[in-house]
Amino acid sequence: MSKIDQIQADLLEMVAGLRGAPKEGAFNIRLNGKSAGHSGSSQVSIEFKAAGSGIDVRVAPGTKGEKIYIPVVISESGMREIVYNDFYIGEGAEVEIIAGCAVHNCAQGVTQHDGVHAFRLEKGARVLYKEKHYGSGEGTGERVLNPVTECFLGEGSYMEMDTVQIKGVDSTRRLTRGKVGKNATLIVREKLMTHGSQRAETRFEVAMEGAGSGVNLISRSVARDRSSQVFFSKIEGNNACTGHSECDAIIMDEAIVRAVPEIIANHVDASLIHEAAIGKIAGEQLIKLMTLGLTRQEAEEQIIGGFLK
């Protein structure tokens, strides 16, 4: 792996839990628009697309228990890029994919990374996809991350997506789309916190096409200061299926949160539920923690920390 500075090393650890390159398994670490190191494994191949615009990751059928790291670190202010990563998960394979993107902006230019990820899961494949977003740096330039995740789930496959954005991203538009096949399941967990004057938009669009398919979308967010959040979710049941989405937001200070749920049943055996709740931290919760000896501020931090855990 090529040499990285301290800021880059810290960012890499923050989003992917890595100190340097992983010791084993397939990985590609993208640093300021270029690969800073990559490797395949006996079961996983990583191929670069033309002109550094992304990678193709192919997981052999029957692969078990591999971790694939594909984090992105940008520390050059003013850099803007769109990256297309495609994942082909073979029949019966079970893998964990750790993505994540950290942007450090210490100058005036807008720094932006738009990661477009497409997952194609063959019959019976299982994927745990972790994506963590983080921004840092004292510059006035905006840190922008607009991830697009597309999930195509074949028969009996299972995909779980854990996405976390807790700090430092000024503007984000997150789009997650899914087509869920027969007896396949898609689970998306989103944790989001906005502060300052940040803006975040989340959009889920999932169509359940196969009989016995299921989806569960869970979004928990905290909006602080003058930040704003919009949550759209659209679940379409085109067969006998079960769908559930839940948007739960804590609102603080002068923040704004908007939730727009849509559930569409195109089949008599489609069972769809949406839950949405927006509210400030309950006074009783604060009082309870204060009776345990915490200050009001400590109590708030505990409640938010637990909510986004």
Partner: protein, 243 residues
Amino acid sequence: MLELKNVSFEVKGESRDGKKEILRDVSLTVEDGSFVVITGPNGGGKSTLARLIMGIEIPASGSIIFDGKDITGLSITERAALGIGFAFQQPVRFKGLTVRDILTLAAGRELTFDEACGYLVEVGLCAADYVDRELNSSFSGGELKRVEIAMVIARGTRLSVFDEPEAGIDLWSFHNLIRVFESMRDATKGAIIIISHQERILEIANKVVVIANGRLDAVGTREEILPELFCDAKTCRYYRGAV
């Protein structure tokens, strides 16, 4: 240990002066090592009195002295630090915080799995099923109530105030609840104040306090107060106004 001196409390109301009196001129002493049970009709001001001791409400007049220190102007957090614990009548739920998280906060230090389990076993909960469970809406009222009591045990405060601890305690006997109170008192050498209507809890009191219509109606030993309290409602002097 604790002394309430002429404590009054009022809220905004519809009377001519815009105020509604909830408690008036209540004076009370709680000695070290004692069980004090506060009882009386619903709406009489018992819970308000408990909340005034914890600092959740602030009196309109009067003062509260704890271990010789005037705590009337102190916050909830400051009173907690001095050694006052509180179990709510209707405990709150927390999305995301587990039973272990909340017991850790209560104890004020990291707890081992065994320590956290120990507190839960005390309140009759099968610890392995509960310790890493989120304290969310999946908890029944009775389970929540027991976790609330476990928190007060974990705190180990010199003065512990329980607001109707028996309400909703399903399938768990009063015998166990009383044993918990006794072992807490023995461990802390402190005092326990319990708001309760329950005869079994009243029977362990060293001191029974009757609050009715916002006033301290009677204070005495259980031998003095209980015969009056459990007499026929028509002849009971404490309930006279209500029937």
